[in-house]
Structure formats: C-alpha cells, structure tokens
Symmetry: C2
Amino acid sequence: MTVDNPILAVQKPVRRQLDAVQKQLRGLFKTPIPILNEVGGHVLATRGKKFRPTVLLLTAKLRGELNAEAVTCATVVELVHAAALIHDDSVDRSHLRRGMPTVNGLWTDEMAIIMGDYLFAQSMSLLVEHKLTAAMGILARCVTELSCGEALEFQHAYNLNVTEAEYEELIRAKTGSLIGAATEIGAGIDSSGRDLKRRAVYRGFGEKVGVAFQIVDDLFDYLSDSEVAGKPVGYDLAEGKVTLPLIAALRQATEADRKKLRALASRKKWTKGQWEQLRALIEKTGGFEYSRQRAQALADEARGILAREPRTSARRALDAAIDYAVKRDH
Amino acid sequence: MTVDNPILAVQKPVRRQLDAVQKQLRGLFKTPIPILNEVGGHVLATRGKKFRPTVLLLTAKLRGELNAEAVTCATVVELVHAAALIHDDSVDRSHLRRGMPTVNGLWTDEMAIIMGDYLFAQSMSLLVEHKLTAAMGILARCVTELSCGEALEFQHAYNLNVTEAEYEELIRAKTGSLIGAATEIGAGIDSSGRDLKRRAVYRGFGEKVGVAFQIVDDLFDYLSDSEVAGKPVGYDLAEGKVTLPLIAALRQATEADRKKLRALASRKKWTKGQWEQLRALIEKTGGFEYSRQRAQALADEARGILAREPRTSARRALDAAIDYAVKRDH
C-alpha cells in the first residue's frame, strides 16, 4: 500500500473514462426540478472513490480498449450504488457517511427515498437508452440481491446466534453483488454477453473482492477511531448488525468468555470501559484475527483469478484494487 | 355507475388474466427470507382493485386476444404501482391507506424502503426475464416520472402560490404516468413496439384518465367522510399538498375571501369549525365545481379516443373505467 491515496494508483489506467463517468453523472442533475438538482449536487460532491466503476472499467480493459458502452455501464453501476447507499443510510438512520452528511441527514428520510428512486430510475433509463440488454439482466438480478441484503439485515438484526454462513450470504447480497455485477459487466462487454464463462468467473471475482471489502469495513466498526471512519465506532452493533469479529469470537470463546461477550454485545449503548472490554474479549478469542484471515483468503482467491491474465497496467491496477479492499486503513 | 362494486364490471372481460396476475404476484413472495414473505403477504392482501393492470389488459384486448406477455406486463405494472405506493406512504408518513394499515405503519419506514426496492427490482427482473424490451423502455421513463412527481410534491409543499399548470404537471407525473404507461403498453404489445402512433395515443388516454382520477382523489380529501376515505380528511393539506379545489378557489375568490382562504389554508391543524369554514369558502368560490369540471373534461377527452374503437366488451369496460375514475364515491 502506498502512503498517498492508494485509490488514485488503482484508477490511473481508467482515469479518462472515470472523468467521462463524472460528466455523465453531472448531466443527470440538470432537471427542471430545483430540489432534485440541489440534492443531486450534494450526492455528486460527496461521492468519492468510484470503486465500482473503476473495477468495471479495469476488468473491461483486461481484454483491450474501452468503448463508450463501458463508460455508460460504469455510470449506471455508480448510480445504482449511490441509490442503494442513500436508501441504506435512511434505513440505518445514519447521518454521516465517511464524515460527510447524508441525504437523510441534510434533508429528510422522505428526500432520501425520492432521490434513491430517482437514481434507480435513471440507471434503468440509461440502460434502455443505450440498449445495454446484457447489462440490464445482470443489474436486474443485482438490484434484487441488494434489496434482499437489506431484508436479511432486518431479519438478522440483534440476533447473536447468526452464523458465519448467514453473515457471509448477507454481505454477499449487500456488497458483493454490485461489485460482482460491475466486474461481470466488465468481463462480458466486449462479447455482447456471449462470453458467459468469463462473465461467471469475473462475477465470482467481484463478489470475493466485495465480501472481503465488507469484512474489512465491519472490522473498522470495532477497530478504527471514529474520526477516521467518519461515523461513531460501535455504530453497527448498536444498530443490531452482528458482524464477523463478534460471530467468530462467540464461536471460539470459552463458555465463560462467551457469556461475558453475549452480555456486552446485547447492549445498545456502552461506556468507554464497556466498549474496551468487548473489544478486548473479541481480540482475546481471536475474532479480529479470524476476520482478517477470512478477508485475506478471499483476496487471495481473487488474486488467483487475475494471475491467469496477461501482465498489463489494468491487471496491476486490479491487483492494487484487491489490496485496497483489504488493506485500507479506514 | 352501478350500485354494487363498479370495478368488478370494469374487470369482467379480463377477469381470467387478472387472476393470472395475482398468481404471478404470489409467486414473488416465496423467498428464503421470511420477513420478505411476511411483508409481501400483507402487501398482496391489501392490494385491492388492480386498476392499472385492468386498463393495460383492456387496452390490449381492444386489438384482439390477450397473450402471456400482456399478463406479465400487467403484473409488472402492478408491482411498480405497489412499490411506488409503499415508498409514497413512507414519504407521506401515512399509516392508513383506504382504511388498511401501510407497510411503514405495521412495520417501519425502513421496511417500507426495503419492500419498495424489492418490488421495483422484481418488476425489472420480470421484464428482463421475458425480454419485454419495449415495455422496459416505457417503464424506465415512467419510473423516472414517478420519482419526479414525488420530488415536485416536496418542491411545492406548503406553497399556496402553486399554479394549476404546476399542480397538473405534478399529478401527471405522480399518477398519470403509470396509468399512461399501462395503456401505452396495452396499445403497443401486439406490434412489438412498432405501432408507435397508437402507443402515443393510448399513453395520452391513460394520462388523462390518471389525472382525472387524481383530481377526484384530491377532491375526496375535502369532501368525503374519513370513514369512507380510510384516512383523516384534510390530511393532504396538513401534509402541504395544495390541490386543485384550493388552487381554483384562491384564483377565483374575491380579495377578502382569498385572504380568509390563505389564513385557513396555512394552518396544519383545524378545529371542526375551521375546517368547515375552509370547505364553505372553497364551495362558495367554486373550487370544488371547477375541479369536478376539469376531471369531467379530461374524462370526455379520453372517451373521445375510445369512440374510434369497435364496440367490444373491452371498449365498454374501458368506458366504465373512465366513469369509475371520475364518479367513484371514495
């Protein structure tokens, strides 16, 4: 990992196309409805890293030069992601995301629903307009999975008996599905959907990267400083999200430690001391270590897929994207 | 209008297809996620009249026998409508719709966002699965218009200076667009989208019916008993929705009456006496009469389009659907 912003190195081979994505996005908020443009402007200003469009474009570039269709698909993937995040923040009642105010935080939950729906609608419109039928199929499934991921989160909330398999299915649906859709579209774009085997391989690639990314994200809820994460630490657990460090800790703990863990994890508020005690117990029982290893294992599987590709700048950047997913420090 | 349930007469020529729609809808809630099936079951149980699938099927039947594609499109239109209503109820914080509890009322706003997204996603999936490309294009535009309608409602909230043109554009987007999409799909389904002129005519037909329907709906907020409407009377105005009776009244009133109207309409709560005073002023200045006439004029325009069709059971039922839209008593 470089000391500077590591995502910039990942994006370098597709910098020009990402600028075109940003331009397409800006075009969507020149509507006759002032409030849509106002909220849209905020969404554009706070959307940062464009990880999903980046991996879509890089995966497409593995096979050769990028065309306008790849750029449009990258825009669509970013739109779906922004829509899902905006609805997700409203569902979670988050008022900050990476230190920036959310739509529901600055305006209302109502505006968050409207803006998310508008962005979903625009993503569908762009696909129709550009006759991107294969991408439409991939994204229709993905959007279903995204909402199933949210439903699973609702279903499993505050359930300390959730299993690792249930957790992984949840984060695959919630995070893996869209990164998987991005890399599947990237793999299939040159062949107009005929290259189904390569598409399936790269969907798996993206899902692994996405699940690893989410495991690391969930680790931060326990490990990072709230200033770095841009939201209060312990926020996920307070919201009922039982994630891998705790799941692994509960599974690996002695009977006595498990009892203590369950008591601490059942709270919705903690004193600084209680939170430190919970963290120390997860550390002691290997919950953090297990999570790191699982993320690394998924990253290694993804690297194995890339190893079959010619050594191009796109492949190097995708390797760096995997590093970014599992090694970023916030 | 018949004394019994008039919608049943409208639906008679497409009864069998509407049953098939209901069966397709039920199939969507056999997921591995219990909470989705539970909420979905409630949505199915409380979805009543299927006005949009009905007019889609009837419009298609004007040209001949119905095929499986028409049924799937009818299901999709109902899904989009249910999704939009569920998000809309959450946006409006409505806990009752026609006397039945809403998703946000029974569960939470979070669940309403999730279920709406799931239904949108399923509608997209069905269109992709059945390769209904023309319908996809029509619905992509419609879904954009639906969210723009919601945004306009947000934009114009509590604005007593909103014009009739602005109001009509809002309800065309909010209600006309999906009924217009339903009848456009109905008109275009036999010709695989090649019959663009007929499609445009029937989109206009559905939009007129939809706008008339919404004008009548907005009248009920002033005129009906709350037991019949299934929600508190004056609810719309309390939520900031300035609708045609008030817009027309403010325009047509004397200076003195306009002042009284503005003072009363600026409140968010009314005593029984204040509400009666507001109603009496709108009555006196002709706001209700103007709204009724506007709805009738739109209904007449729609009837004019139908008059060019052969006299079949489908045409008679569509004529009855127009009557239903403007003459229903709640």
